[in-house]
Symmetry: C2
Subunit: 121 residues, 2 copies
């Protein structure tokens, strides 16, 4: 139990990250997400980071890795809810969310997952 | 900042509670929710408690109070994700979620909000 709830909505999973996840919580979240993708046969996931006040290099790298693993399991990831402050800091530090799309909020994220229907894009 | 993210999906808000909310976090969540209802003109809210391993009398009473206040602001509340263990404990302790509907999960909660269109029901 990572303490991070994973919700299901149609074909998609919704994850709202809590502030200050420990390294072991990140690990458990990754395991839970990868398992859940198979259980509910999800085709996409929206990861909301609006509660996070800091996105350091560990968080960024872990999110990117989770997105990559999810894609190997057949589900695409969209990271949403990056606040202006977090975006500024990430740009200053040169942190990139590799392999994931980003969108403004949950609605835009779900819309993005719905439009991206080409599996080989 | 209560640390509990409040997501918006169409006319509805989605709140996923984190385990072990402190009393002050409950207070801030209530304030944030009541404010947000007005900001986004929400007509309903789904509160997911699946991450909570314990629902004591304080949590139950606070949730009931939040639901009542939300209704006064024009938004109905559905509590979803009560686990079998939590349901058992709540029944044993005689705890009731007064004034709120409950549903199995996010999807059922949103469906319930959509069906309940009679404002005077």
């Amino acid at each position: 139990m990572s303490g991070v709830p994973i919700l299901k909505l149609g074909d998609h999973l919704i994850v709202t990250l809590t502030p200050q996840l420990s390294d072991s919580q990140w690990d458990r979240l990754r395991d839970a997400l990868l398992l859940r993708v198979g259980q509910v046969r999800a085709t996409g996931a929206v990861i909301d980071v609006s509660a996070m006040e800091v996105m350091d290099s560990f968080a960024t790298r872990t999110l990117g890795a989770i997105a990559q693993m999810m894609r190997l399991r057949g589900a695409r990831c969209v990271v949403v809810g990056i606040s202006p402050e977090v975006a500024y800091t990430m740009a200053q530090l040169g942190l990139r969310l590799q392999g994931t799309k980003t969108a403004l909020d949950l609605e835009e994220g779900l819309a993005l997952l719905k439009t991206q229907t080409d599996p080989f894009a």
